[in-house]
């Protein structure tokens, strides 16, 4: 695959690191930055033969098969329209839009142009996530009743994140988009998100957008997707997911506790662990960041999808649904009520229901709980199907 990258900042470099990591056959052939200096520097660092300060020129470059967008949120729409116009496949960083309305336009643009619209939701491609999802789909934890995803850190790298006009919002747009799509995958993408309840507040920083938020997303089958996001967390970057199913539990820790622990007095050298808040004392590095954060598996899926003319696991439609949920969350944060998720063109299941099945104790009673006591005795708690009375056997 021959690639163009729009953007030369933090996320674009992360993408490029992943693309050159393990002798991948895909290559970057053009890079765009509004700053010529940055475009040139990026081209040199990653051996990209062509650079430009024109999005159009980059996108229309004759060798380019697919375009990767690593720009600030306010530039996604115009870039995607340029790709669609040029008939190039387009892979866009998260969140797709600043809101659902923008995302909807992007979705329509790629569908009309008949190009692949890949949604670069890396955290839905981490190795732990992929294996968890396979386990859940195989039934290993039964029906999912709650899926929580948490991303918190001390705040983003670039100035535009902090500017609501450019970013579309604060921690909820920046981090919540990950959490929402993670929970949505675990609960089932074909289950409709129905309504959202959200708390959001600006607690620490001198900004207009929220720097802390918690939200509950209710799905049609009764499952709850929860997100916890913060730009004021202290201690590094906390990336954790938890899922409760009727038959099991999954806990993922993607960053701060991955089996790599280090103590340094600070006397030795000047090593600094990434995103850590300090460089002495106990540190918790991550081995291979681009792999652990899902970039490698994400690009493999995206390019394979384009090659094989199938949909990638994360599409622009997914990005649109996430934006629709975030929109409802912002409304709820203001109205202080559960707010409906407004979705045009729902493509999943209709009238999904929980697979709630009570266990019969016998024909007259349901089993509530069976337990072996420390004494070795067995205790059975049952409920009379008719009277509703609860008894011990």
């Amino acid at each position: 695959m021959k690639l163009a990258i729009l953007g030369s900042g933090f996320i674009s470099r992360f993408y490029a690191d992943s693309l050159v990591a393990q002798r991948r056959k895909d290559t970057i052939v053009s890079v765009y930055s509004r700053s010529e200096v940055n475009a040139k520097k990026f081209a040199e660092d990653y051996h990209v033969p062509h650079y430009t300060t024109s999005i159009k020129e980059c996108v229309e470059h004759k060798d380019v098969d697919a375009v990767i967008i690593g720009l600030s949120n306010d530039l996604h729409l115009e870039s995607i329209l340029a790709c669609a116009a040029a008939g190039k496949h387009v892979l866009c960083t998260k969140p797709l839009g600043r809101n659902a309305e923008e995302a909807w336009q992007m979705l329509q643009a790629v569908e009309k142009a008949n190009v692949v619209g890949g949604y670069l939701e890396d955290l839905c491609y981490t190795p732990k996530f992929l294996k968890s999802l396979a386990s859940i789909k195989s039934g290993a934890i039964g029906e999912v009743i709650w899926a929580k995803s948490r991303e918190t850190h001390p705040g983003p790298h670039s100035d535009w994140f902090w500017d609501k006009a450019k970013s579309g919002g604060g921690a909820m747009v920046d981090l919540g988009c990950h959490c929402i799509e993670i929970s949505r995958n675990f609960i089932g993408k074909n289950i409709r998100p129905v309504e959202v309840m959200c708390w959001a507040d600006t607690r620490v920083h001198p900004i207009d957008a929220e720097d802390n938020a918690i939200g509950l997303v209710k799905y049609e089958n009764g499952a709850i997707g929860q997100f916890e996001v913060s730009w004021s967390f202290r201690g590094g970057m906390d990336l954790r997911d938890e899922v409760m199913g009727t038959e099991g539990t999954i806990w993922l820790n993607n960053f701060l506790r991955t089996g790599f622990e280090m103590f340094t007095s600070g006397k030795g050298g000047d090593y600094i662990a990434e995103k850590a808040e300090s460089n002495t004392g106990w540190l918790f590095p991550v081995g291979d960041e681009v792999n652990e954060l899902g970039y490698n598996h994400m690009f493999t899926d995206m390019f394979d999808a384009i090659d094989k003319k199938r949909e990638p696991a994360e599409t622009f439609y997914d990005g649109y649904i996430v934006n629709a949920i975030i929109d409802a969350a912002y409304t709820s944060a203001k109205t202080k009520k559960w707010e409906p998720v407004q979705i045009k063109d729902w493509r999943g299941k209709f009238e999904a229901k929980a697979n709630k099945q009570y266990t019969d104790f016998d024909e007259n009673f349901y089993l509530i709980k069976e337990e072996v006591l420390p004494s070795g005795e067995k205790k059975i708690i049952i409920k009379n199907k008719k009277t509703g009375s609860i008894e011990i056997r």
Copy 2:
């Protein structure tokens, strides 16, 4: 201290185990159970000289200084009234009432009788909790902006828990009372809880009460206390607390991951780890359950408080506040809106405010973020105090 215990079931035995654990000088002199067989058995097991099937006889026993209540929730009020009538100090298990109205009557009874009303909230006495609270009070994590407490397990031991009339509710009354009081301590007991937003649902069991709930409690200074409770969690008993402060973070794991890990093929013996769902494979026991769950430190505080005529750390007033918050949570779960916490006789601080202080970069700008990039460069994000525009230096 000479003690009576009302109740001979699971929690009363836990209390007794703690009371006899380390050659404590306090002794149990009387035990009540509605079943004579159980009362006698308990008296034998713990060398209690007197047992009875009359609450009145137990409470009024001449040697008794203080009464410990380990009965089902529906019997708390009548027991406390009996203690107050007899002029005996009374220590009541959690939750105090089935609702705030009951709790209020209990509070008034002990205050009128001028006896100590101790609220047996053991999880606010675990060694980890006590040390965390001391750290927070010393300022080690700055101002608390979010305190989450989680208690989930596969459901309670006794039948009355599952019967809403006796218990007053489901997982929220049973487990949420712990979580609420834990968060409240971390945020500050003198900060008024203002309103509650709650989701509650019956997902797995054939019961009327909720078996899963999540709630957010907003405090007057903007802090959020969060609770996560479940009677359908798989994998044992999950007891975790997390606190985010402006200067730090605290994570506590009280049960499932405490540095004790064991694998057994099951061929060896018939050892069963407590509350574990299995007795083979990887197990995570707890060393000294009565100490880790706070019982030892709780009773030490309660008896010292009575001896020294001071208030214990957890009083009936605290129990009442917790009930008031749970009441608001149930209302919110129905109305699907934030609901106010109704408190008679607020005894804490009025008009608490967050200590929000922006950091000046210079006289014209606030500092948003300062960061050292992988390249070694320093990046500073600032905000113009007048125009609000965000810049990078």
Copy 3:
């Protein structure tokens, strides 16, 4: 129990903290220190009615039932002889002697005087250790084939530890004594330790004794007890045990990772976690140190043993065996060979053998391994009993 304490330093204060922790009925009635100032200060801090600078006066105090020795290693023998002369029970801190010869004299003194000689090996009383030991005895992990115990930290508090004449040695005497007795309990106290192989070196400090050592103790049934000790470990105090059995595994972490994690920027307060090397960044405190380190359960066992005229779990004989193993370790560190453990008066089992039982596949073959492959196929590796050839079925 009425107690005297010899010593007023770090370990004596730890003992006293445990003795007053949970309204224990045992009381300290006299304290000795060679410094009158320290004796008086200790007496005030712990409300001890009598203090003295004479060991004899302290030990012979009429109210004293039992004496607790918290003095430097060179003073254990004379103190124990004084207790034996006075006919008082005596509980001595670890290690018992500076070498086996001293320990043997102490053992003989208490046995001749017919008083209890309790060996204050607190790490064989931690809650996790006690529960592990019960599991192992119940057969949960099969036969123990390797038991490792590790204690490492940045070095002891008092000057006498660093002075070989007073202490008897370095990290091996100070920390190895714990590790050896822990492994010995897990393997079985009645299994004879046969020989020792040891590496010891002085790597970091300007001292004569070793500051790092690793040793293997071979027991008669083939089991290996391993110790790892260091006075130059960086990162706090690392206290971990690992046991491999034929049917299971046990991993204990007693200090650095117990489910209590804290990050502090250091801006907040001046809180310092105990034995931590820093007071900012990620810290790992312990909830209730005296309980987690076994002091509470240790004293309960010691006093109950005296009351009930039974042996405590850890006796002077155990202290003597530990010293005999350490002696062999020092010899091995010099000769660079396995060295025999010299034990006078072995009181355990003779000719212990491993319970090695091969599993028959059928009458001609032993089963080596049975495995389900990712493909679902079952693979069986067997060994011909006569020819010894290994085959796959």
Copy 4:
């Protein structure tokens, strides 16, 4: 790079999984197996255009640039000689030889033929290992004084491992080779391993080779490399490394605790976690096994090395040194003494010394320890440079 693979079993498939994982540009063009069925199956599964039952034919295939050997230990030498004869680069699985003599012949063969001899020591390429090594080289933990590596599991997959004639030995050859090279990297490859002390025993299985072993390798600068290996560990595959430096500590957990935890009742599906001993209860999967175990980074380094005509990080010389250490370990296990490591042609540093530097307190005293007591007082322990006496200030 165009590749041939010799072997079609477990390890060859692992290698192939890594080679096809992330759209790598390197391709497998030929596969050899002594079984035609297996060769054909492998060729189909991995889309390999050519398969054969002749090593010679495979190695001499005109498209082949480099050969990967995934055969049993007894076939390494003949395969390498074939590669050398054909003038093809050769990458051989671990251990290089069954003993140092074999490894020496292999080393000479590739050096004479002037082809790259890459030693496929995957565990020296895990992401955590690579980052740790970089930290150590930057001085973050000071001078390494002890590096321990542990690999234990319930035994290998194929029959030939259990047959000493084919494998060259038991757990020490199979797993110890990893541990030795890991420690050697951390301590410094240019530091000469001097002598070895080893315990090895056959505790559980009906085999001639050892199924458990522990060894200490002493390096010329005083550092100790420790290995712990077992084929009878219960609980899965335990892969952990620990390093103690004068200024810090590193702890790596590569498999059993990587931040991925799962509980399943077993009711749901038939999911089986890899290498786990059970498929119910608490399971600890690994996200992306080929990446976490170092295969991806290993092949990238090997192929880049060949392309750029530089040495890979792990060469046949390294494989030879490891074999020399294992040989000394087997001798020590018999003689029960430290045994010298016999190395022909030492290519590292000569007369390496520890960077031992005592800290001066003043001109007359060394500083032993400085400590802040709970009371806030500062305590300083020093040693008189002339008299050696130890004092407190």
